[in-house]
Symmetry: D2
């Protein structure tokens, strides 16, 4: 088994360092994204995240800025000079997202969208493949083969919690799955503690646990005023919370 190292921009995942990818759940405006990414750059974050196309259970919820975000993101990104991770929800978005996004994220609802995975296999950008919230580890690993089939082996797996009977947390973060995959495959694995927790005060302890269990990084939602966020308000960290997380994760073990 060979450990693979995947690069997002010039940042390596799977090579031994622990990478914190952070940003808002959704890009809400040029101003909001600039404010957040400027802050994140200052505290040392090297990869940004930000949703452009959002999949929401309720069709009346905010669906992301969509095409509107693509008008200002390329310029903003040039200014920030940081790579951007963003979710893709339809094969027809590949071309549109090309100049704005450095790493395509396949969200939990699309892990079984094999038509999309096949198309992503034909690109040469890194892919963050989130685990379906009810996917067996076995199915998750099989899904990578739809991407690999096209010749793209730049795959990072992301554990984000599975659906169980428990309701106090939004999903049950399966850190044993991270240990399992790290010991039995060569894929880099990151963890999204924000979605699993569904509550911002659980993000830091879960991120620390993710690092200890062997993950190569975490994906964190940040918002300057979480209570005003257009999506996932309950689980986003504010700037103070984000600063504390960076401090704890970079000094600890």
């Amino acid at each position: 088994m060979q450990m693979s190292v995947v690069k997002i921009g010039s940042v390596e995942l799977g090579g031994g360092s622990f990478v914190i990818i952070a940003g808002p759940c959704a890009v809400e405006s040029p101003e909001q994204f600039l404010e957040i990414s400027t802050f994140l750059k200052e505290i040392g974050i090297k990869v940004l995240r930000g949703g452009i196309y959002k999949l929401r259970t309720d069709p009346t919820s905010f669906q992301g800025l969509r095409e509107k975000a693509l008008e200002f993101l390329p310029e903003l990104k040039k200014k920030m000079n940081l790579p951007l991770v963003s979710e893709i929800t339809d094969p027809r978005q590949i071309e549109r997202l090309d100049s704005s996004v450095d790493c395509y994220q396949v969200g939990t609802r699309n892990m079984y969208n094999y038509e999309l995975l096949k198309e992503l296999g034909n690109t040469r950008k890194p892919i963050i493949l989130k685990r379906g919230f009810s996917a067996l580890i076995k199915e998750w690993l099989l899904a990578t083969e739809y991407i690999l089939a096209g010749g793209n082996d730049q795959i990072i797996l992301c554990e984000r919690g599975i659906r169980t009977f428990e309701t106090f947390t939004r999903n049950t973060l399966d850190l044993a799955a991270v240990a399992y995959i790290k010991s039995r495959t060569g894929f880099p694995v990151i963890v999204d503690p924000s979605h699993a927790a569904g509550s911002s005060d659980l993000v830091l302890p879960l991120a620390k646990a993710a690092k200890s269990v062997g993950a190569d990084g975490v994906l964190i939602e940040v918002h300057p005023e979480p209570q005003l966020a257009l999506s996932d308000a309950d689980q986003a960290l504010d700037f103070n919370g984000m600063r504390a997380l960076v401090r704890e994760l970079t000094t600890a073990t």
Copy 2:
């Protein structure tokens, strides 16, 4: 609350009669599909099913005949003069499937594929929306709104089993969900006992239970020689089994 009646071809679902939709898991060849549909027509089946694009967990499994099936299906269908239900897995298939398929089925892996649902909302064909195997009833009902938003209200819901800890059956058929939806919404609901059972001898008792609980129909997999089927071999009924099922479901209460 108004009960809606949805037509597939000229067959009504939701109007009080119990409809048996049957056919192979996958269309494997013109000969196979003709043999099965001829048999089904003889025993009184009025709506056919047959997979053209298959989503398989394992990328090396048979993925359906895909475009090849579209070369012979329009003619075969004219010969049989029966409407056909088939799964759609990508918005770009809508045009291609138009002349072969009378009712689009959204499979369990695509219930959360809202980009696909939106596009289907723009068609005027009936849609069978299968429940995601880990979808809450609430999410399933919200998914219909993505289709309704486009102006298409020809929606049939299909319960096909949910993922639980149990392993003796492939999925746990949630017949209470059928009773729940029938009593609280106006949608026709059908049941797919074949996928849930994962074993052909459980199909008949579950189909009878589906009828008793108030479903408007069932979706049954049939194959002349199940052990030779290219997919779902364990759960398909053979012709004798199918005859017995039709007999029991049409004479019983």
Copy 3:
């Protein structure tokens, strides 16, 4: 495989007829139990149920009349001349319940209480063994062996719903498990639709489905004024609902 027939009093389960066992969730007073059982006898019910020791998640909830019920139950039962099913929650209750109870029910929380099962194996009364709400079918069948080991083969299995992610229903009734067990073992199987549904209007359709799938009977909660019941108020049938259920289940197939 030999089908076994188990008798509760003189009523046979597993011999081909469909048995409705009914009564209150909990025996609340001599008057309440007399009123309900008189009504049930009038409409043809031949086996009563009624909780004496209740296991409640919340320790401040009503825990059953416990020893107090044992003061009046033997006389009441003589008057009614009907066998009584009641739950046992501790091996030390066997002696105490002996003259009041004709069939011990092991509740869902005690399916794994092997110390209790071993002791029940030493009695010669019939045992209704409810499935643990998270028990695999395999574990449920293995649990019977703890009873069989003592020489007691008078075992009736009872499916009552399993814990899943779904929240609109209290538990997910697994009717495929009933079909599975009926086809592969000789045990009589009954279904408790009341606890699974958690809502009285779903009880009738689920009871009909239970009959169609091959169950040997159902266990129904009845209360003259369900909204005043000391436990499980949401799911008990009132007398009209119970009359309707008996009518539908005895005339239908």
Copy 4:
């Protein structure tokens, strides 16, 4: 909210230090238990565990030495001078276990055995209350009230994995539940990574994650020759594995 500190022997849990409780799944013989506990004492372990009464799904599996172990344990314990944690499975064992056991463990199958919890509330020994493998956090916390009702507040909670659809690991370790309980209640919480993992190579990463997420300790299964263990052979650490775990957990953050 007040953080409570619970003592097993003279070892404090909940007071800020991280406690490793270790020993064999089952006490198999005086020699085996002496060998393991001597080793554990040498490497600095201060609390032993060892099963006397085992609850096994399969009645033909090894059920523990039971009363036989009570003949040699009091003397062995005096020799080792270390407190012992052991599972109790029936209220009638309290008296028998009194001189051998310093802390009663309530296993996952008995979390809902409220009759047992009530009796343990009447003792004054510390209780490790394992989470039922399908218990909601809410139910777990309510179960403590059955113990508290009798006046015993020496309660330690133990997360040991919950039952989900995943099969590559035996249970899904819910470390978010640990963070949740630590932030919202005063109970000490420990983690049993051995049972959840079901595979010895996952024990160390999960134990480290447990520490990072805020747990007060771990419960580890050790066996000199795991492949010969009479129960849970797959997940026990051997002596080398145990040494490595102690080293990593005591030097790391």
